[in-house]
Symmetry: none
C-alpha cells in the first residue's frame, strides 16, 4: 500500500515559502550565507520542525544536522535524505533547500500514514555546500567522506579573514560527534537540475547517474601599483590588463573543449582598487568542469600555458594554484535503480542525466550508496534570485524520493519469516 | 654674477630631514594631514624660519601662508614660489614639501648673496593640497583661483565629520586677508615627478609645460548570473568576459593614442562575485588622460565604439557614464622659458614634460603666469612612505628654481635708465 503513498505537495510548497523568508531578498531570492546569523536561524527552525515530527536531532563537529526518525531496528544504519539550507549571495529559493524540505515532508508523510520503516530514516542538513563564503564547496560532506580533514575545514577563511571554525563556534553549532562518525545505509538527494535539459525535453524527473569532474583554482597576478596619471603605458606593469587577458583565455579554453566542458571566472578582486592607481595585484578564481576527468586536466594545462604566455616579458607575474579537485562521480547502481523504478511506477516522464553541478552527494557517494533526483528549473537558471520551479515538479520529486527511500528500506530489510 | 649663484644643497636637505620629523613614520615616511596639530606645528616652524630670513609673513582666510621678501619696488606684485606641507596618510618626505623648502632655501641664498630683487619674492604654503583629509584636493589654491568658494571649502568634512572651517579656526590659521585677495606676478612650483619618466631617461630636470586633460568614467556591464557548472558556454551571458574584453580595449586605446596618452582601469567589482556563478554584472572605472583634450575625447569615442562591438549580439549590455572632465592646463610660455633657460645654463639634463597629476599650480595658472619644475623620484613611487629622491636632485631643482625666479624678476623689472 505504501507504493500508492504521496507526499502533501501543498504542505511542502508552503514550507519552502516559509523558509524563503529567512534571508529573503527584494528580488524574490534568498541570501543565506553559511554560518551567518540567518543560517543559524534556519537551522534552529529545522531542528524545531524535526523534533515536532518525532525525530532525535543532533549535529556533529562540522555543524551537519542529523534528524533521525526511528525504524523497527534502530541498530541498522539509517537511510539518509540530505542536502543543504545555505545559499549563494544572490541565490534562489530552491537550490539545496528543496532537498532538505522534501526530506522533512517525507518524514511527515510517513508519520501521517503511520508507516514504520525497518531502518531509521535520517534527514541531513550539510554545512557549507555552496562554498561562496568559505571555499571549497561541499566542505562538510567532504569532511564526512574523508576528503578534507576537520582542521583544514576549520582554517578556511572568508574574504574578511574570519575562519570557518570560529564562525561555526559563534553560531553555536559545534556538535559532540566527530564528522563522519556514523554510517549511512544509503543517501538520497532531491535537487533542482540547475540546467536546461529536463525543461527542454519535457521531463519531470532526472535520474542522476553521476557528477562531472571539476577543479577550482585561485590565481594571483602581481604587477606594480603606480599613479595612473604619471606612468606611461610602456612603463606599466598592470596586473588587471594581464588578468583580463587570462579571463579571455579561460573562456577560450572552455569553448575549445566543448560541448560539455565549462570554464568560469566567477570572482575577481583588484588591489588597491582605486580609480587613479594602476592595479598592482589582481586575485581571481577559475572553475573548470567536464564529465571526463582527462578533459578537465587538459583545460588546466591549456590555461597554464596561456597564462605563462600572457605574462612573458611583461614584468607581471602570475601564481595559479589548484585548490580543489573533484573527479567525476558514478552513483550507486541500486540507488539509481530505486529512483528509476519509483519514477516509472509513479508515471513521471524521466531521463537519466549527469549532474553539471557539484553536490554533497558527490562526496557522500564515497562512503555510502548514493544517488540524486533532479526536477526541472525554469530556463535552467540557478544561483540567481530568479531561480524558479513549479509546485507540481517539487511534489513529483518528493514522491520519487519517498518511494525510492521505501524501496531501499524494503531491499535492505533482513529477509525473515514468510 | 647672480647667474653663477647656487643654493646650499646640504642646508636644503637638512631642512627637509628636519621637517620630516614632524609627523615622521616608522617606515621613513610622513603623516601630516592638513589642519591637524602636526600641520600647525610645521606651519609655525615655517613662519619662524621665514621671519628669521627677514620676511613679512601673513596668511589669508584659507590659511594659505605668504612669506614675503621685500624687493626694490614693493608696489610690484610678488614673484611667488609655492607648494604644500601637508601629506597623504602614508606619504613621503618630498611630495609638496620640497617645493616649499626649496623656496625657503632660495630666500636664504638670496640673503647670503645680498641680492635685492626688483619685485618682492613670496614663499607660499598652500593649505590642503592632498585632499586626503578634506576632499577635494588643491582646495585652497582652488579658492585662490576662484574655482571653489570659501564657504564651499569651509563646509568640507573629514571622516569624523569635522569641518575644514572649524579645524582651520582650531589651529589658529584664519587670516584677515580674503583668499585670492592679492595679485601674483608669477608662480613657480618645484615638485617630484611622481612618475618614472625622468629617471627612465636619465634626466635631472622636468620642464613642466602643463597638466594633462583627464576624464573619468563609470562602466556597468550587465549579463545574466547563472550556475557555472550547468550552463553551457554557448548559452552564457558572462558580464566578466565582456568586461575583460573592454579592459583590453581600454589598454589598446591608450596605446593607440600614445606616446603621451594614458588609459587606466583602476577599479573593478563583479557581482555576485562567487566562484561558481557566472558574473551577471561588472562595474569598472576608466581614467583617460592626455596633454591634448581632443585626444582624450578621441579615446572616449574609440572606447565607446569598442564596447558596443564587444557586446553586439552577446546578450550582454553596457552603460558607460562620464563622471568627471578636467581640461588640459597650459603653463605660461615665458615662465616655462625661464625654467628651460635656467636648466640649460646650469647644464642639467632636462626634458619638457606634462604633469600627469594635479597640483596647486594647475589652479594658480588660471590667475597668474605659472609653471613647475620636476625632479625625479625613485621608480616614480609617490603617495607612499617609500617615496625617495636624491639630495643632488633636490638641489638641482632648487638651483633651477632660483635662476628661473631671478630671470623672471629681471624680465619683469621696469626698463629704466642706463
Amino acid at each position: 500500500m505504501s507504493t500508492n503513498m504521496r507526499v502533501d505537495g501543498a504542505r511542502l510548497w508552503d514550507t519552502i515559502m516559509e523558509t524563503a523568508k529567512i534571508g529573503g531578498t527584494e528580488k524574490g531570492g534568498v541570501k543565506r550565507l553559511t554560518l551567518t546569523d540567518l543560517d543559524a536561524q534556519v537551522r534552529h527552525w529545522l531542528i524545531g520542525q524535526c523534533e515536532a515530527a518525532g525525530c532525535d536531532v543532533h549535529y556533529d563537529d562540522m555543524g551537519n544536522i542529523f534528524a533521525r526518525r526511528p525504524g523497527k531496528d534502530n541498530a541498522l544504519p539509517p537511510i539518509a535524505i540530505g542536502s543543504h539550507l545555505d545559499t549563494q549571495p544572490t541565490g534562489g529559493k530552491f537550490d539545496g533547500i528543496i532537498g532538505v524540505l522534501a526530506g522533512l515532508e517525507v518524514l511527515r508523510t510517513l508519520n501521517d500514514s503511520g508507516i514504520e520503516t525497518h531502518a531509521p530514516i535520517e534527514l541531513i542538513d550539510w554545512t557549507n555546500e555552496e562554498g561562496s563564503r568559505f571555499a571549497p564547496a561541499m566542505l562538510s560532506s567532504g569532511v564526512f567522506a574523508g576528503v578534507f580533514s576537520r582542521d583544514y575545514a576549520y582554517e578556511r577563511e572568508d574574504r574578511e579573514g574570519l575562519t570557518f571554525g570560529d564562525e561555526l563556534k559563534r553560531i553555536g553549532f559545534v556538535g559532540g560527534e566527530a564528522c563522519g562518525g556514523h554510517k549511512l545505509a544509503a543517501h538520497f538527494e532531491l535537487h533542482i537540475e540547475q540546467g536546461p535539459i529536463l525543461e527542454d525535453e519535457g521531463k519531470t524527473i532526472g535520474i542522476v547517474t553521476g557528477v562531472q569532474g571539476m577543479r577550482w583554482y585561485e590565481v594571483t597576478v602581481t604587477g606594480m601599483d603606480c599613479h595612473a596619471g604619471s606612468t606611461p603605458m610602456r612603463l606599466r606593469q598592470d596586473a588587471l590588463v594581464a588578468a583580463a587577458r587570462m579571463i579571455e583565455a579561460v573562456q577560450a579554453v572552455g569553448l575549445a573543449n566543448g560541448p560539455d566542458a565549462v570554464a568560469t571566472v566567477g570572482l575577481i578582486e583588484a588591489r588597491p582598487n582605486s580609480r587613479n592607481v594602476i592595479p598592482g595585484e589582481v586575485f581571481f578564481t577559475i572553475d573548470f568542469r567536464d564529465p571526463n576527468d582527462s578533459v578537465v586536466a587538459k583545460m588546466e594545462d591549456e590555461a597554464r600555458a596561456a597564462f605563462d604566455k600572457i605574462v612573458e616579458g611583461s614584468g607581471v607575474s602570475v601564481k595559479c594554484e589548484r585548490i580543489w579537485d573533484s573527479p567525476a562521480v558514478h552513483f550507486d547502481k541500486e540507488c539509481v535503480a530505486a529512483v528509476e523504478g519509483a519514477a516509472s511506477s509513479l508515471g513521471y516522464p524521466a531521463r537519466r542525466i549527469v549532474s553539471g553541478a557539484g553536490h554533497d552527494s558527490a562526496y557522500i557517494a564515497k562512503v555510502a550508496p548514493t544517488t540524486m533526483i533532479f526536477v526541472p528549473c525554469e530556463k535552467g537558471i540557478s544561483h540567481n534570485e530568479a531561480e524558479k520551479t513549479e509546485p507540481e515538479q517539487v511534489a513529483a520529486g518528493a514522491d520519487v524520493l519517498l518511494q525510492a527511500v521505501l524501496a531501499t528500506d524494503a531491499r535492505l530489510a533482513p529477509k525473515t519469516g514468510a
